[in-house]
Protein backbone atom coordinates (compact mmCIF):
# COMPACT_ATOMS: atom_id res chain seq x y z
CA UNK A 1 0.00 0.00 0.00
CA UNK A 2 1.45 3.38 -0.94
CA UNK A 3 2.51 5.59 1.89
CA UNK A 4 0.86 9.00 2.18
CA UNK A 5 3.14 12.01 2.62
CA UNK A 6 2.20 15.52 3.69
CA UNK A 7 1.56 18.34 1.23
CA UNK A 8 3.14 21.59 2.31
CA UNK A 9 2.47 25.13 1.10
CA UNK A 10 4.92 27.81 2.22
CA UNK A 11 4.17 31.45 1.54
CA UNK A 12 2.72 30.49 -1.84
CA UNK A 13 1.82 33.60 -3.84
CA UNK A 14 0.60 34.17 -7.38
CA UNK A 15 0.03 37.49 -9.09
CA UNK A 16 -1.66 37.72 -12.48
CA UNK A 17 -0.75 41.24 -13.53
CA UNK A 18 -2.31 43.52 -10.94
CA UNK A 19 -4.42 40.84 -9.33
CA UNK A 20 -3.03 38.78 -6.48
CA UNK A 21 -4.85 35.48 -6.92
CA UNK A 22 -3.12 33.74 -4.00
CA UNK A 23 -1.34 35.56 -1.19
CA UNK A 24 1.16 34.02 1.22
CA UNK A 25 -0.64 30.69 1.43
CA UNK A 26 0.93 28.53 4.12
CA UNK A 27 -0.61 25.21 5.19
CA UNK A 28 0.10 21.53 5.69
CA UNK A 29 -2.14 18.69 4.54
CA UNK A 30 -1.49 15.53 6.59
CA UNK A 31 -1.72 11.94 5.34
CA UNK A 32 -4.45 9.57 6.46
CA UNK A 33 -7.17 12.22 6.43
CA UNK A 34 -9.49 13.79 3.92
CA UNK A 35 -8.83 17.51 3.81
CA UNK A 36 -11.40 19.80 2.28
CA UNK A 37 -10.04 22.82 0.44
CA UNK A 38 -12.94 25.22 0.56
CA UNK A 39 -13.67 28.65 -0.72
CA UNK A 40 -16.00 30.48 -3.06
CA UNK A 41 -15.43 30.37 -6.81
CA UNK A 42 -12.53 32.62 -7.70
CA UNK A 43 -11.00 32.44 -4.21
CA UNK A 44 -7.77 30.96 -5.58
CA UNK A 45 -8.31 27.22 -4.98
CA UNK A 46 -7.57 26.07 -8.51
CA UNK A 47 -4.57 28.40 -8.86
CA UNK A 48 -3.15 27.05 -5.59
CA UNK A 49 -3.60 23.44 -6.74
CA UNK A 50 -2.10 24.21 -10.14
CA UNK A 51 0.94 25.75 -8.47
CA UNK A 52 1.27 22.63 -6.33
CA UNK A 53 1.24 20.54 -9.52
CA UNK A 54 3.80 22.60 -11.40
CA UNK A 55 1.30 23.84 -14.00
CA UNK A 56 1.42 27.46 -12.82
CA UNK A 57 4.68 29.05 -11.72
CA UNK A 58 4.35 30.75 -8.31
CA UNK A 59 5.31 34.41 -8.01
CA UNK A 60 6.75 33.59 -4.59
CA UNK A 61 6.83 30.76 -2.10
CA UNK A 62 6.78 27.03 -2.73
CA UNK A 63 4.62 23.97 -2.58
CA UNK A 64 5.97 20.47 -2.00
CA UNK A 65 4.77 16.91 -1.77
CA UNK A 66 6.71 14.98 0.84
CA UNK A 67 9.28 17.76 0.66
CA UNK A 68 9.73 17.58 -3.14
CA UNK A 69 8.33 20.07 -5.68
CA UNK A 70 6.09 18.33 -8.23
CA UNK A 71 8.34 19.09 -11.19
CA UNK A 72 11.21 17.25 -9.51
CA UNK A 73 9.27 14.02 -9.04
CA UNK A 74 10.80 11.29 -11.16
CA UNK A 75 7.63 9.27 -11.67
CA UNK A 76 5.00 11.82 -10.69
CA UNK A 77 1.92 9.61 -11.00
CA UNK A 78 3.31 7.10 -8.55
CA UNK A 79 3.60 9.85 -5.93
CA UNK A 80 0.67 12.14 -6.70
CA UNK A 81 -2.59 11.59 -8.52
CA UNK A 82 -4.53 14.65 -9.58
CA UNK A 83 -7.89 15.22 -11.22
CA UNK A 84 -8.34 18.84 -12.17
CA UNK A 85 -11.24 19.54 -14.47
CA UNK A 86 -13.75 17.32 -16.17
CA UNK A 87 -12.90 18.46 -19.71
CA UNK A 88 -9.27 17.35 -20.17
CA UNK A 89 -9.97 14.61 -22.68
CA UNK A 90 -9.81 14.28 -26.42
CA UNK A 91 -13.41 13.47 -27.35
CA UNK A 92 -12.31 11.05 -30.07
CA UNK A 93 -10.14 8.87 -27.85
CA UNK A 94 -11.50 6.01 -25.76
CA UNK A 95 -11.20 6.08 -21.99
CA UNK A 96 -8.83 3.16 -22.03
CA UNK A 97 -6.56 4.74 -24.65
CA UNK A 98 -6.63 8.01 -22.71
CA UNK A 99 -5.30 6.22 -19.64
CA UNK A 100 -2.79 4.21 -21.70
CA UNK A 101 -1.26 7.43 -23.05
CA UNK A 102 -0.62 8.85 -19.60
CA UNK A 103 0.42 5.54 -18.09
CA UNK A 104 3.11 5.30 -20.75
CA UNK A 105 4.22 8.90 -20.28
CA UNK A 106 4.47 8.60 -16.50
CA UNK A 107 6.01 5.10 -16.62
CA UNK A 108 3.16 3.41 -14.84
CA UNK A 109 2.71 -0.34 -15.36
CA UNK A 110 0.20 -1.04 -18.17
CA UNK A 111 -1.93 -3.32 -15.97
CA UNK A 112 -2.78 -0.31 -13.79
CA UNK A 113 -4.94 1.06 -16.63
CA UNK A 114 -7.56 -1.63 -16.20
CA UNK A 115 -7.20 -1.55 -12.42
CA UNK A 116 -7.94 2.19 -12.38
CA UNK A 117 -10.91 1.80 -14.73
CA UNK A 118 -12.22 -0.94 -12.48
CA UNK A 119 -11.75 1.15 -9.33
CA UNK A 120 -14.04 3.88 -10.66
CA UNK A 121 -16.54 1.52 -12.25
CA UNK A 122 -15.87 2.40 -15.89
CA UNK A 123 -14.71 -1.01 -17.11
CA UNK A 124 -17.75 -1.64 -19.29
CA UNK A 125 -17.44 1.80 -20.94
CA UNK A 126 -13.65 1.67 -21.35
CA UNK A 127 -13.65 1.22 -25.11
CA UNK A 128 -16.10 4.01 -25.85
CA UNK A 129 -14.98 7.40 -27.07
CA UNK A 130 -14.98 9.95 -24.30
CA UNK A 131 -16.98 12.38 -26.46
CA UNK A 132 -20.10 10.37 -25.63
CA UNK A 133 -19.52 10.39 -21.88
CA UNK A 134 -21.78 12.13 -19.37
CA UNK A 135 -20.28 14.64 -16.96
CA UNK A 136 -20.43 12.05 -14.20
CA UNK A 137 -18.51 9.52 -16.32
CA UNK A 138 -15.91 12.16 -17.15
CA UNK A 139 -15.48 12.86 -13.46
CA UNK A 140 -14.93 9.16 -12.90
CA UNK A 141 -12.40 9.01 -15.73
CA UNK A 142 -10.58 11.99 -14.22
CA UNK A 143 -10.46 10.11 -10.95
CA UNK A 144 -9.22 6.99 -12.74
CA UNK A 145 -6.28 8.94 -14.18
CA UNK A 146 -5.53 10.23 -10.69
CA UNK A 147 -5.44 6.63 -9.46
CA UNK A 148 -3.26 5.35 -12.33
CA UNK A 149 0.01 5.27 -10.43
CA UNK A 150 -1.60 4.04 -7.18
CA UNK A 151 -0.29 7.23 -5.52
CA UNK A 152 -0.01 8.06 -1.84
CA UNK A 153 -1.31 11.58 -2.44
CA UNK A 154 -4.56 12.47 -4.21
CA UNK A 155 -5.53 15.96 -5.28
CA UNK A 156 -9.03 16.41 -6.62
CA UNK A 157 -10.44 19.72 -7.80
CA UNK A 158 -14.24 19.88 -7.44
CA UNK A 159 -14.70 16.12 -7.94
CA UNK A 160 -18.33 16.25 -6.86
CA UNK A 161 -19.41 18.85 -9.44
CA UNK A 162 -21.86 17.33 -11.85
CA UNK A 163 -22.27 13.98 -10.13
CA UNK A 164 -25.72 12.51 -9.61
CA UNK A 165 -26.77 11.65 -6.03
CA UNK A 166 -25.64 8.07 -6.47
CA UNK A 167 -22.25 9.24 -7.73
CA UNK A 168 -21.90 11.66 -4.83
CA UNK A 169 -22.56 8.87 -2.35
CA UNK A 170 -20.07 6.66 -4.16
CA UNK A 171 -17.27 9.24 -4.21
CA UNK A 172 -17.73 10.07 -0.52
CA UNK A 173 -17.25 6.45 0.46
CA UNK A 174 -14.37 6.14 -1.97
CA UNK A 175 -12.48 9.14 -0.57
CA UNK A 176 -12.97 7.88 2.99
CA UNK A 177 -11.50 4.52 1.97
CA UNK A 178 -8.48 6.15 0.35
CA UNK A 179 -7.74 8.15 3.48
CA UNK A 180 -8.30 5.10 5.69
CA UNK A 181 -5.55 3.38 3.70
CA UNK A 182 -3.18 6.09 4.86
CA UNK A 183 -3.20 8.27 1.76
CA UNK A 184 -3.22 12.05 1.73
CA UNK A 185 -6.48 13.25 0.19
CA UNK A 186 -7.04 16.91 -0.70
CA UNK A 187 -10.45 17.73 -2.15
CA UNK A 188 -11.50 21.19 -3.24
CA UNK A 189 -15.06 22.44 -3.30
CA UNK A 190 -16.90 25.74 -3.30
CA UNK A 191 -19.74 24.22 -1.28
CA UNK A 192 -19.16 23.16 2.28
CA UNK A 193 -22.35 21.09 2.26
CA UNK A 194 -20.91 18.98 -0.58
CA UNK A 195 -17.96 17.74 1.41
CA UNK A 196 -19.18 18.23 4.98
CA UNK A 197 -19.85 14.51 5.40
CA UNK A 198 -16.54 13.48 3.86
CA UNK A 199 -13.78 15.67 5.22
CA UNK A 200 -11.86 15.50 8.47
CA UNK A 201 -10.03 18.79 8.15
CA UNK A 202 -10.68 21.98 6.27
CA UNK A 203 -8.54 24.67 4.67
CA UNK A 204 -10.71 27.67 3.92
CA UNK A 205 -9.50 30.22 1.42
CA UNK A 206 -11.11 33.55 0.59
CA UNK A 207 -9.76 36.21 -1.77
CA UNK A 208 -6.51 34.29 -2.08
CA UNK A 209 -5.82 34.08 1.65
CA UNK A 210 -6.07 31.18 4.05
CA UNK A 211 -8.75 32.20 6.56
CA UNK A 212 -9.21 29.01 8.55
CA UNK A 213 -7.44 25.73 9.01
CA UNK A 214 -8.12 22.84 11.33
CA UNK A 215 -10.52 19.98 11.95
CA UNK A 216 -14.03 20.39 10.58
CA UNK A 217 -15.42 20.07 14.12
CA UNK A 218 -13.55 23.24 15.09
CA UNK A 219 -15.57 25.21 12.59
CA UNK A 220 -18.78 24.93 14.63
CA UNK A 221 -17.28 25.61 18.07
CA UNK A 222 -19.53 28.51 19.04
CA UNK A 223 -22.99 28.03 17.67
CA UNK A 224 -24.87 31.31 18.10
CA UNK A 225 -27.95 30.66 20.25
CA UNK A 226 -31.05 32.48 19.14
CA UNK A 227 -34.21 32.70 21.17
CA UNK A 228 -37.47 33.79 19.61
CA UNK A 229 -39.89 35.39 22.09
CA UNK A 230 -43.16 37.27 21.74
CA UNK A 231 -45.81 38.80 23.92
CA UNK A 232 -49.30 40.27 23.42
CA UNK A 233 -47.58 43.48 24.49
CA UNK A 234 -44.48 43.28 22.38
CA UNK A 235 -43.07 46.72 23.21
CA UNK A 236 -43.30 45.99 26.95
CA UNK A 237 -41.39 42.75 26.43
CA UNK A 238 -38.84 44.55 24.34
CA UNK A 239 -38.08 47.19 26.97
CA UNK A 240 -38.05 44.55 29.73
CA UNK A 241 -35.48 42.48 27.86
CA UNK A 242 -33.37 45.52 27.07
CA UNK A 243 -33.44 46.55 30.73
CA UNK A 244 -32.25 43.02 31.50
CA UNK A 245 -29.19 43.69 29.33
CA UNK A 246 -30.15 41.43 26.40
CA UNK A 247 -29.61 42.04 22.71
CA UNK A 248 -33.00 42.25 21.07
CA UNK A 249 -33.98 42.51 17.45
CA UNK A 250 -37.53 42.81 16.24
CA UNK A 251 -38.69 40.62 13.38
CA UNK A 252 -42.07 39.80 11.90
CA UNK A 253 -42.27 36.62 13.97
CA UNK A 254 -41.38 38.28 17.25
CA UNK A 255 -38.29 39.37 19.13
CA UNK A 256 -35.03 37.61 18.44
CA UNK A 257 -32.65 37.49 21.41
CA UNK A 258 -29.07 36.48 20.78
CA UNK A 259 -26.49 35.47 23.34
CA UNK A 260 -28.87 34.16 26.01
CA UNK A 261 -30.54 30.84 26.80
CA UNK A 262 -34.30 30.39 26.69
CA UNK A 263 -34.55 30.14 30.51
CA UNK A 264 -32.92 33.49 31.00
CA UNK A 265 -35.29 35.21 28.57
CA UNK A 266 -38.28 33.65 30.35
CA UNK A 267 -37.00 34.73 33.71
CA UNK A 268 -36.47 38.34 32.65
CA UNK A 269 -40.01 38.50 31.26
CA UNK A 270 -41.47 36.94 34.38
CA UNK A 271 -39.57 39.30 36.69
CA UNK A 272 -40.88 42.29 34.71
CA UNK A 273 -44.43 40.92 34.83
CA UNK A 274 -44.78 40.66 31.00
CA UNK A 275 -46.93 37.89 29.59
CA UNK A 276 -45.24 35.63 27.04
CA UNK A 277 -47.07 34.19 24.04
CA UNK A 278 -43.99 32.56 22.46
CA UNK A 279 -40.66 31.33 23.71
CA UNK A 280 -38.51 29.02 21.56
CA UNK A 281 -34.84 28.41 21.16
CA UNK A 282 -33.73 28.07 17.55
CA UNK A 283 -31.23 25.33 16.91
CA UNK A 284 -28.44 26.64 14.74
CA UNK A 285 -29.18 24.11 12.03
CA UNK A 286 -26.91 25.71 9.46
CA UNK A 287 -24.15 26.41 11.95
CA UNK A 288 -21.36 25.03 9.78
CA UNK A 289 -22.57 26.78 6.68
CA UNK A 290 -22.99 30.03 8.65
CA UNK A 291 -19.51 29.75 10.08
CA UNK A 292 -18.19 29.05 6.59
CA UNK A 293 -19.99 32.00 5.06
CA UNK A 294 -18.85 34.26 7.87
CA UNK A 295 -15.25 33.26 7.13
CA UNK A 296 -15.38 33.74 3.40
CA UNK A 297 -17.35 36.97 3.57
CA UNK A 298 -20.78 37.99 2.38
CA UNK A 299 -20.02 38.01 -1.34
CA UNK A 300 -18.59 34.55 -0.94
CA UNK A 301 -22.02 32.96 -0.92
CA UNK A 302 -21.92 31.89 -4.53
Amino acid sequence: MPEGVPIEFTGLTKRFGEVEAVSGFTATVPPGRVTGFLGPNGAGKTTTLRMLLGLVAPTAGRATIGGVPYRRLDRPFSAVGAALEAASFHPGRTARDHLRVYAQAARVEPRRVDAALDAVGLTSYARRRVGGYSLGMRQRLGLASALLGDPGVLILDEPINGLDPEGIKWIRTFLRELAAEGRTVLVSSHLLSEVQQTVDDVLIIAKGRLVHTGPLSGLQAQPAVRVLADSPDRSALRSALQRGGLEVEETADGLVVTGAERGRVGHVAFAAGVELSLLTQQRPAAGLEDAFLALVGEEGAL
Binding site: T46, T47, R50, L53, G54, L55, V56, A57, Y70, R71, L73, P76, F77, A82, L84, E85, A87, S88, F89, H90, P91, G92, R93, T94, D97, R100, V101, Y102, Q104, A105, A106, R107, S145
Partner: protein, 277 residues
Protein backbone atom coordinates in the same frame (compact mmCIF):
# COMPACT_ATOMS: atom_id res chain seq x y z
CA UNK B 1 16.49 9.75 -21.16
CA UNK B 2 13.97 7.32 -19.71
CA UNK B 3 11.44 10.12 -19.49
CA UNK B 4 12.07 10.99 -23.15
CA UNK B 5 11.53 7.38 -24.20
CA UNK B 6 8.38 7.18 -22.09
CA UNK B 7 7.08 10.49 -23.43
CA UNK B 8 7.83 9.41 -27.01
CA UNK B 9 5.90 6.16 -26.58
CA UNK B 10 3.02 8.11 -25.07
CA UNK B 11 3.03 10.62 -27.93
CA UNK B 12 2.90 7.80 -30.47
CA UNK B 13 -0.06 6.27 -28.66
CA UNK B 14 -1.68 9.70 -28.38
CA UNK B 15 -1.41 10.37 -32.12
CA UNK B 16 -2.42 6.90 -33.22
CA UNK B 17 -5.49 6.57 -30.96
CA UNK B 18 -7.56 9.25 -32.65
CA UNK B 19 -8.79 9.25 -36.23
CA UNK B 20 -6.94 12.34 -37.41
CA UNK B 21 -3.71 10.67 -38.56
CA UNK B 22 -5.28 8.12 -40.89
CA UNK B 23 -7.87 10.56 -42.22
CA UNK B 24 -5.06 12.96 -43.18
CA UNK B 25 -2.98 10.09 -44.57
CA UNK B 26 -5.89 8.80 -46.64
CA UNK B 27 -6.62 12.23 -48.13
CA UNK B 28 -2.92 12.76 -48.83
CA UNK B 29 -2.55 9.45 -50.68
CA UNK B 30 -5.75 9.89 -52.69
CA UNK B 31 -4.91 13.50 -53.53
CA UNK B 32 -1.29 13.09 -54.66
CA UNK B 33 -2.13 9.76 -56.28
CA UNK B 34 -4.87 11.37 -58.35
CA UNK B 35 -2.71 14.32 -59.39
CA UNK B 36 0.28 12.13 -60.24
CA UNK B 37 -1.81 9.56 -62.11
CA UNK B 38 -3.70 12.24 -64.02
CA UNK B 39 -0.52 14.03 -64.99
CA UNK B 40 1.32 10.85 -66.00
CA UNK B 41 -1.49 9.63 -68.23
CA UNK B 42 -2.17 13.12 -69.59
CA UNK B 43 1.43 14.06 -70.37
CA UNK B 44 2.16 10.53 -71.49
CA UNK B 45 -0.65 10.76 -74.02
CA UNK B 46 0.67 14.12 -75.25
CA UNK B 47 4.19 12.79 -75.61
CA UNK B 48 3.01 9.68 -77.36
CA UNK B 49 0.95 11.66 -79.84
CA UNK B 50 3.99 13.72 -80.71
CA UNK B 51 2.59 17.02 -79.49
CA UNK B 52 4.85 19.48 -77.74
CA UNK B 53 5.01 19.02 -74.00
CA UNK B 54 3.34 21.77 -72.01
CA UNK B 55 5.02 25.14 -71.82
CA UNK B 56 6.24 26.62 -68.59
CA UNK B 57 5.04 29.62 -66.61
CA UNK B 58 3.41 32.73 -68.04
CA UNK B 59 6.80 33.91 -69.27
CA UNK B 60 7.12 30.90 -71.49
CA UNK B 61 9.76 29.00 -69.57
CA UNK B 62 11.61 26.07 -71.02
CA UNK B 63 9.65 23.06 -72.15
CA UNK B 64 9.44 20.10 -69.82
CA UNK B 65 11.91 17.58 -71.24
CA UNK B 66 10.81 13.99 -71.36
CA UNK B 67 13.53 12.89 -68.96
CA UNK B 68 12.16 15.30 -66.33
CA UNK B 69 8.65 13.89 -66.50
CA UNK B 70 9.15 11.00 -64.11
CA UNK B 71 10.86 12.93 -61.28
CA UNK B 72 8.36 15.80 -61.55
CA UNK B 73 5.45 13.41 -61.29
CA UNK B 74 6.93 11.34 -58.47
CA UNK B 75 7.84 14.36 -56.36
CA UNK B 76 4.25 15.59 -56.40
CA UNK B 77 4.19 13.52 -53.20
CA UNK B 78 6.10 16.30 -51.46
CA UNK B 79 5.41 19.32 -53.69
CA UNK B 80 1.66 18.89 -53.33
CA UNK B 81 1.63 16.75 -50.18
CA UNK B 82 3.83 18.69 -47.78
CA UNK B 83 0.99 20.52 -46.00
CA UNK B 84 -0.28 17.18 -44.66
CA UNK B 85 2.55 16.22 -42.27
CA UNK B 86 2.72 19.90 -41.37
CA UNK B 87 -0.96 19.87 -40.39
CA UNK B 88 -0.49 16.65 -38.41
CA UNK B 89 2.44 18.21 -36.56
CA UNK B 90 0.67 21.43 -35.72
CA UNK B 91 -2.47 19.57 -34.61
CA UNK B 92 -0.35 17.37 -32.34
CA UNK B 93 0.43 20.54 -30.40
CA UNK B 94 -2.66 22.71 -30.82
CA UNK B 95 -4.96 19.78 -30.03
CA UNK B 96 -3.42 19.69 -26.56
CA UNK B 97 -4.63 23.23 -25.95
CA UNK B 98 -7.92 22.81 -27.78
CA UNK B 99 -8.94 19.82 -25.66
CA UNK B 100 -7.05 20.92 -22.55
CA UNK B 101 -5.13 17.65 -22.57
CA UNK B 102 -2.02 19.76 -22.01
CA UNK B 103 -2.88 19.56 -18.30
CA UNK B 104 -2.59 15.74 -17.97
CA UNK B 105 0.31 15.79 -20.43
CA UNK B 106 2.34 18.12 -18.23
CA UNK B 107 1.22 16.27 -15.11
CA UNK B 108 2.58 13.01 -16.54
CA UNK B 109 5.74 14.66 -17.92
CA UNK B 110 6.42 17.77 -15.82
CA UNK B 111 9.55 18.62 -17.83
CA UNK B 112 7.90 20.36 -20.73
CA UNK B 113 10.92 20.35 -23.03
CA UNK B 114 10.78 16.55 -22.96
CA UNK B 115 7.20 16.61 -24.25
CA UNK B 116 8.21 18.82 -27.14
CA UNK B 117 11.21 16.62 -27.99
CA UNK B 118 8.91 13.58 -27.96
CA UNK B 119 6.51 15.30 -30.36
CA UNK B 120 9.43 16.02 -32.68
CA UNK B 121 10.48 12.38 -32.73
CA UNK B 122 6.93 11.21 -33.39
CA UNK B 123 6.32 13.73 -36.18
CA UNK B 124 9.66 12.97 -37.86
CA UNK B 125 8.67 9.31 -37.95
CA UNK B 126 5.06 9.88 -39.00
CA UNK B 127 6.13 12.55 -41.50
CA UNK B 128 8.46 9.98 -43.07
CA UNK B 129 5.60 7.47 -43.07
CA UNK B 130 3.34 10.02 -44.78
CA UNK B 131 6.11 10.65 -47.29
CA UNK B 132 6.61 6.97 -48.01
CA UNK B 133 2.87 6.38 -48.44
CA UNK B 134 2.50 9.41 -50.72
CA UNK B 135 5.43 8.23 -52.83
CA UNK B 136 3.93 4.78 -53.18
CA UNK B 137 0.90 6.52 -54.67
CA UNK B 138 2.74 8.94 -56.96
CA UNK B 139 5.37 6.47 -58.11
CA UNK B 140 2.87 3.66 -58.48
CA UNK B 141 0.32 5.58 -60.54
CA UNK B 142 2.91 7.82 -62.20
CA UNK B 143 5.05 4.92 -63.39
CA UNK B 144 1.95 3.09 -64.55
CA UNK B 145 0.91 6.12 -66.61
CA UNK B 146 4.34 6.71 -68.11
CA UNK B 147 4.86 3.03 -68.75
CA UNK B 148 1.50 2.77 -70.48
CA UNK B 149 2.77 5.18 -73.15
CA UNK B 150 6.19 3.62 -73.36
CA UNK B 151 7.95 6.46 -71.59
CA UNK B 152 10.92 6.02 -69.27
CA UNK B 153 9.88 5.55 -65.65
CA UNK B 154 13.40 6.20 -64.42
CA UNK B 155 13.01 3.57 -61.74
CA UNK B 156 16.06 1.69 -62.94
CA UNK B 157 18.35 4.56 -61.93
CA UNK B 158 19.90 4.88 -58.51
CA UNK B 159 19.63 8.69 -58.72
CA UNK B 160 15.87 8.34 -58.84
CA UNK B 161 15.82 6.24 -55.67
CA UNK B 162 18.12 8.70 -53.91
CA UNK B 163 15.64 11.43 -54.82
CA UNK B 164 12.75 9.40 -53.41
CA UNK B 165 14.74 8.92 -50.21
CA UNK B 166 15.26 12.69 -49.94
CA UNK B 167 11.52 13.16 -50.49
CA UNK B 168 10.84 10.97 -47.46
CA UNK B 169 13.31 13.07 -45.45
CA UNK B 170 11.58 16.27 -46.58
CA UNK B 171 8.18 15.02 -45.41
CA UNK B 172 9.70 14.04 -42.05
CA UNK B 173 11.08 17.57 -41.65
CA UNK B 174 7.69 19.08 -42.56
CA UNK B 175 6.20 17.15 -39.67
CA UNK B 176 8.69 18.84 -37.35
CA UNK B 177 7.97 22.23 -38.96
CA UNK B 178 4.31 21.61 -38.07
CA UNK B 179 5.22 20.96 -34.43
CA UNK B 180 7.18 24.20 -34.37
CA UNK B 181 4.34 26.16 -35.92
CA UNK B 182 1.85 24.62 -33.48
CA UNK B 183 3.95 25.68 -30.52
CA UNK B 184 4.32 29.17 -31.92
CA UNK B 185 0.61 29.52 -32.74
CA UNK B 186 -1.19 27.34 -30.15
CA UNK B 187 -4.62 28.34 -31.46
CA UNK B 188 -5.81 25.44 -33.60
CA UNK B 189 -7.72 27.58 -36.07
CA UNK B 190 -4.83 30.05 -36.22
CA UNK B 191 -2.35 27.30 -36.96
CA UNK B 192 -4.45 25.67 -39.68
CA UNK B 193 -5.19 29.00 -41.36
CA UNK B 194 -1.49 29.89 -41.25
CA UNK B 195 -0.49 26.61 -42.88
CA UNK B 196 -3.13 26.74 -45.59
CA UNK B 197 -2.61 30.44 -46.35
CA UNK B 198 1.15 30.11 -46.48
CA UNK B 199 1.42 26.89 -48.43
CA UNK B 200 -1.46 27.47 -50.85
CA UNK B 201 -1.22 31.20 -51.38
CA UNK B 202 1.70 33.17 -49.99
CA UNK B 203 4.59 30.95 -50.94
CA UNK B 204 3.37 30.02 -54.46
CA UNK B 205 2.93 33.72 -55.26
CA UNK B 206 6.31 34.66 -53.84
CA UNK B 207 7.98 31.86 -55.76
CA UNK B 208 6.27 32.81 -58.98
CA UNK B 209 7.38 36.40 -58.53
CA UNK B 210 10.85 35.12 -57.68
CA UNK B 211 11.03 33.70 -61.17
CA UNK B 212 11.08 37.24 -62.63
CA UNK B 213 12.60 39.49 -60.04
CA UNK B 214 16.20 38.76 -59.21
CA UNK B 215 16.36 40.00 -55.63
CA UNK B 216 13.16 38.19 -54.76
CA UNK B 217 14.71 35.10 -56.28
CA UNK B 218 17.67 35.40 -53.94
CA UNK B 219 15.33 35.46 -50.96
CA UNK B 220 12.86 33.07 -52.53
CA UNK B 221 15.38 30.24 -52.50
CA UNK B 222 15.21 30.30 -48.73
CA UNK B 223 11.44 30.00 -48.47
CA UNK B 224 10.51 26.73 -46.76
CA UNK B 225 8.78 25.26 -49.80
CA UNK B 226 11.70 26.21 -52.06
CA UNK B 227 14.14 24.71 -49.57
CA UNK B 228 12.07 21.54 -49.47
CA UNK B 229 12.05 21.32 -53.27
CA UNK B 230 15.79 21.91 -53.34
CA UNK B 231 16.22 19.08 -50.85
CA UNK B 232 14.14 16.73 -52.98
CA UNK B 233 15.71 17.92 -56.20
CA UNK B 234 12.94 18.12 -58.80
CA UNK B 235 9.60 19.79 -58.95
CA UNK B 236 7.42 22.00 -61.04
CA UNK B 237 8.80 25.11 -59.42
CA UNK B 238 12.44 24.15 -59.90
CA UNK B 239 11.77 23.17 -63.47
CA UNK B 240 9.80 26.34 -64.15
CA UNK B 241 12.07 28.47 -62.01
CA UNK B 242 14.16 29.37 -65.04
CA UNK B 243 17.01 31.65 -64.09
CA UNK B 244 17.03 31.39 -60.31
CA UNK B 245 19.26 28.57 -59.19
CA UNK B 246 17.93 26.66 -56.23
CA UNK B 247 19.96 25.61 -53.21
CA UNK B 248 21.99 22.43 -53.13
CA UNK B 249 19.94 19.51 -51.81
CA UNK B 250 21.79 19.42 -48.50
CA UNK B 251 21.45 23.19 -48.12
CA UNK B 252 17.74 22.88 -48.73
CA UNK B 253 17.55 20.19 -46.04
CA UNK B 254 19.43 22.35 -43.57
CA UNK B 255 17.23 25.39 -44.29
CA UNK B 256 14.05 23.33 -43.81
CA UNK B 257 15.40 21.80 -40.57
CA UNK B 258 16.39 25.31 -39.53
CA UNK B 259 12.77 26.48 -39.92
CA UNK B 260 11.60 23.59 -37.76
CA UNK B 261 14.17 24.29 -35.05
CA UNK B 262 13.63 28.06 -35.08
CA UNK B 263 9.82 27.85 -34.90
CA UNK B 264 10.04 25.32 -32.09
CA UNK B 265 12.60 27.32 -30.11
CA UNK B 266 10.65 30.58 -30.36
CA UNK B 267 7.39 28.79 -29.61
CA UNK B 268 8.93 27.09 -26.58
CA UNK B 269 10.11 30.42 -25.20
CA UNK B 270 6.87 32.28 -25.95
CA UNK B 271 4.03 29.84 -25.28
CA UNK B 272 5.14 26.39 -24.14
CA UNK B 273 6.44 27.52 -20.75
CA UNK B 274 3.37 29.59 -19.92
CA UNK B 275 1.11 28.91 -16.96
CA UNK B 276 -1.54 26.31 -17.71
CA UNK B 277 -4.63 27.71 -16.08
Amino acid sequence: MRTLLAATRAEFTKTLTTRLWWVLLLILVLYVGAVAGGLAFGLGALQASGEAPPRGGPGGGPALPAAMLAPVIYTLATVVGYPFPTLLGSLAVTGEFRHQTVTPTFLATPRRGVVLAAKWVVLLVLGALFGAAALVATVGLGAAGLGAFGLDTGLGESDMWAMLGRAVLAMALWGAVGVGLGVLVPSQVGSIVTILAFTQFVEPILRTVAGFVDWVGEVGRFLPGAASDALVGASFFTVLGGGTPSLEWWQGGLVLAGYAVALTAVGYALTWRRDIT
